[in-house]
C-alpha cells in the first residue's frame, strides 16, 4: 500500500504564486475477498444477460423458417393453418388479444392490489394485520388452473350479466359495443380473471414497499395536521411509487404469459377486434399452448416465432417500466 494522500488546498484556493497541484492518483487496492465477490457478481450478471440473449436467439432461429414463408404478413394475418399447399398463419389476433387481456387485467387488478396493499399497511387493525397478510400471500400460491376453473364455473355466469349491462349502457365506448353475442368466453372475462390472479403478488410487494416508508416523514406529515390519507399521499405513495410500478410490471409479466386460465375461458378462435365483451379472441400464450404439436414442422416454427413476439413484448414493457421508475421519495409529484 503506497498511497500518499495529498493534503493540498481544497477548491484550488492556492495562495498567490503557489502552483495549483495536480490531483494525485489514489492507489485503492482491492482486497482478495472483494475480488472474489466482484468476479462472482459479474459472472452472475453476465450469465443472466447471456441466458436472455440465448433464449432470444433460440426463438429467432426456430422461428426463422416460418418468417421466410409468411414475411411481414405474419403480423397482419391471424390463424394457424400450416398444412397443405397454401398455409395461412399469423399472430395478429393473438397479439391484440394478449394486449387486451393484459390491459383489462392491469386496469382491474392494479387498483385492487394497491388498495389492498394500502389497507394492509395503513388501515387494517394491528391484531388482524398478520393474518390478513398471510392470507394474501397464500392467495398468491393458488395455481392458475384453480382460478381458471373457478372463473368458468363461478365467475363467468355472474359476470355475463355485468357485461350485458356494460354493452347496453356504456356502448358509446367502442370497446364495449357488441356486434355478435353471446357474451361469455370473452377477452373481458379472461382479463378479469387474470387481473384477480395478479392481485396477491402485486399487493404483497406493494405492501412491503409501503411499510418501508420513512417513519420520520410519516410523523412529520401527521404532526403538521395531515389526515391519514393526506399523509399517505404525501409520504407513502410517493415513496412507494417505484416499488409499486415494479410490482405492477411483475404482475403484467404474469398477465402476458398466463396460459391455463385464459385457455380455459377463451375458445381460442382467431377472431379479433376491439369488442372485448363478446365471445372470442385468443392470446399468444394460448395460441402456443393449444396448437403445440398440431401443425407439423412449419407449425412448430410458427409457434416459436409467436414466442419471439411475446418475448420482445415483455422486454419492451420492462424497459419502459424501468424508465418510469425514477424519483420515488416522499413528496415526489405530490399535489394535494
Amino acid at each position: 500500500m503506497t498511497s500518499t494522500i495529498d493534503r493540498g488546498l481544497a477548491d484550488g484556493a492556492s495562495p498567490i504564486g503557489a502552483p495549483v497541484p495536480t490531483p494525485i492518483v489514489v492507489n485503492s487496492e482491492v482486497s482478495q475477498p472483494d475480488k472474489i465477490y466482484r468476479l462472482t457478481a459479474k459472472t452472475a450478471g453476465f450469465g443472466v444477460l447471456a441466458l436472455l440473449f440465448l433464449i432470444g436467439l433460440f426463438l429467432v432461429i426456430g422461428g426463422w423458417p416460418a418468417f421466410k414463408v409468411a414475411g411481414l404478413g405474419f403480423f397482419t394475418h391471424s390463424g394457424f393453418q400450416t398444412q397443405g399447399a397454401n398455409p395461412v398463419f399469423g399472430v395478429l389476433a393473438s397479439l391484440v388479444g394478449t394486449v387486451e387481456v393484459a390491459t383489462v387485467a392491469m386496469l382491474v387488478g392494479g387498483p385492487v392490489a394497491i388498495g389492498t396493499a394500502l389497507f394492509l399497511s395503513e388501515y387494517a387493525p394491528r391484531w388482524s394485520r398478520r393474518t390478513l397478510i398471510a392470507l394474501v400471500d397464500l392467495a398468491a400460491a393458488i395455481p392458475s388452473i384453480i382460478y381458471g376453473l373457478w372463473a368458468i364455473f363461478e365467475l363467468q355466469p355472474n359476470v355475463v350479466g355485468f357485461s350485458t349491462w356494460l354493452s347496453r349502457h356504456v356502448a358509446f365506448i367502442p370497446f364495449f359495443t357488441v356486434t355478435s353475442p353471446p357474451l361469455n368466453a370473452s377477452i373481458f372475462i379472461a382479463g378479469l380473471v387474470v387481473g384477480l390472479m395478479i392481485v396477491p403478488i402485486v399487493a404483497s410487494i406493494s405492501r412491503e414497499v409501503f411499510s418501508l416508508a420513512p417513519p420520520g416523514e410519516r410523523e412529520a406529515a401527521l404532526a403538521l395536521g395531515a389526515s391519514r390519507w393526506q399523509m399517505i399521499r404525501t409520504v407513502v405513495l410517493p415513496f412507494g411509487r417505484g416499488g409499486m410500478i415494479g410490482a405492477i410490471m411483475l404482475g403484467l409479466g404474469r398477465a402476458l404469459e398466463e396460459t391455463i386460465a385464459v385457455t380455459i375461458i377463451l375458445g381460442g378462435s382467431f377472431s379479433f377486434g376491439i369488442h372485448i365483451l363478446q365471445h372470442g379472441g385468443t392470446t399468444i400464450s394460448q395460441m402456443i399452448a393449444s396448437n403445440f404439436g398440431s401443425g407439423g414442422q412449419l407449425g412448430n416454427h410458427v409457434l416459436l416465432l409467436a414466442g419471439f413476439v411475446l418475448f420482445i413484448l415483455t422486454m419492451v414493457i420492462n424497459l419502459a417500466a424501468s424508465a418510469i421508475v425514477n424519483r420515488s421519495r416522499s413528496g415526489a409529484g405530490t399535489d394535494l
Partner: protein, 287 residues
C-alpha cells in the same frame, strides 16, 4: 393505580359531538401564543406505565425546557401535548391537556386540528426530501387547505424566522433533501411555523446538529418565543439555561415511571433548586 387509560384511537373517525356544551372547539385561529396546562398525565406503552401523574403548565409566549436523563419520558410527555403519542400502536394515556382552557382530548376534538395548533419539530430532521424547499414550507397549509394569498411572502417570512432565508433564497426550487442536516432542521422549523401554531414543541432539535447550527436554532427560538409558546426537550444544560424561561426536571427512578421532580423558573432551577436530585442533575452529577 386508580387511573384508567383513556382510549385514543386515531383510526376511528372522531365521534361527532352530539351536543357541544360550551362550543368548546379549538377556536384559536390567528397567531396568538397559547398556554398549555397538563394535568395528571399518565402514559403507557402497552401495559408498561412510563409516565406518572405529570402536572405542568407551559406559559404563554414563554420557553419551557424539559430536562432529565434519557428514558424518563420527556419525549412521551411532549408527544402527548399534540396528540402524537396515540400514533404509536399500543400507546395509551390518561389525564387532561388543556390548550387555552380547552381539553385537546375532549370528545369531539380531532387530533388533526390539535396538531395544527401545536406544531412539532423532531430530533431527526425530517423534511419531505422530494419536495422543494418552498413546497416543504407550504406543506402544512396544503393539509389544512388554507389558501395562502401571498405565498412567496409567507415562504420568505418563515424561512427568515427560522434563520434559513439567506442561505436558500436563491434556490427555493431545489429539493429539501439536498440541504445539510442543520439546514434541514431549520427548514422543518419554518415548515412548522408556516401554519402559525400557538405552540411549538421541539424534541431535542439540536442533538443531531453541529455547534453553529445549534446556536442558530437557539437564536430562532428566542426570536419566535414572543408569538408562539415553545416547549423544548434538551439534554444540554447550557442550552436549557440559554433559551428557557421555565424548566421542568423529569426523572424515572429505576424500574419506575417518569415523574416531574421539580419545575419552576430556569434561574431558580439552576441557581437554587429545591430538590437535591435536581441540583445533582443540573450540575452534571448524573444522567
Amino acid at each position: 393505580m386508580t387511573t384508567t387509560p383513556l382510549r385514543t384511537d386515531d383510526m376511528a373517525p372522531a365521534p361527532a359531538p352530539a351536543r357541544d356544551p360550551k362550543g368548546d372547539h379549538l377556536r384559536l385561529a390567528g397567531s396568538a401564543a397559547g398556554e398549555i396546562e397538563a394535568e395528571g398525565v399518565y402514559a403507557w406503552f402497552g401495559s408498561r406505565l412510563v409516565l406518572e401523574n405529570v402536572t405542568l403548565t407551559m406559559e404563554r409566549s414563554k420557553v419551557t425546557a424539559l430536562i432529565g436523563p434519557s428514558g424518563c419520558g420527556k419525549s412521551t410527555f411532549l408527544r402527548i401535548l399534540n396528540r402524537m403519542h396515540e400514533v404509536v400502536p399500543g400507546a395509551q394515556l390518561a389525564g387532561t391537556v388543556g390548550l387555552n382552557g380547552v381539553d385537546i382530548y375532549g370528545s369531539g376534538q380531532r387530533a388533526m386540528d390539535t396538531r395544527r395548533h401545536i406544531g412539532m419539530v423532531f430530533q431527526k430532521p425530517n423534511p419531505f426530501p422530494a419536495m422543494t424547499i418552498q413546497e416543504n414550507v407550504l406543506a402544512g397549509l396544503k393539509f389544512s387547505r388554507s389558501q395562502a394569498k401571498h405565498r412567496d411572502d409567507l415562504v420568505e417570512e418563515m424561512l427568515t424566522k427560522a434563520g434559513l432565508w439567506n442561505e436558500v433564497k436563491d434556490r427555493l426550487g431545489s429539493l429539501g433533501g439536498a440541504l445539510s442536516g442543520g439546514q434541514q432542521q431549520r427548514l422543518c422549523i419554518a415548515r412548522s411555523l408556516a401554519v402559525r401554531p400557538s405552540v411549538l414543541l421541539m424534541d431535542e432539535p439540536c442533538s443531531a446538529l453541529d455547534p453553529t447550527s445549534t446556536l442558530r436554532i437557539e437564536k430562532t427560538i428566542q426570536d419566535i418565543a414572543g408569538e408562539v409558546t415553545v416547549v423544548i426537550v434538551t439534554h444540554n444544560m447550557q442550552q436549557a439555561q440559554r433559551v428557557s424561561d421555565f424548566c421542568a426536571f423529569f426523572l424515572a427512578e429505576e424500574n419506575k415511571p417518569g415523574r416531574v421532580v421539580e419545575a419552576g423558573p430556569t434561574e431558580l432551577m439552576f441557581g437554587n433548586p429545591a430538590d437535591p436530585r435536581t441540583a445533582d442533575y443540573v450540575n452534571g452529577q448524573f444522567g
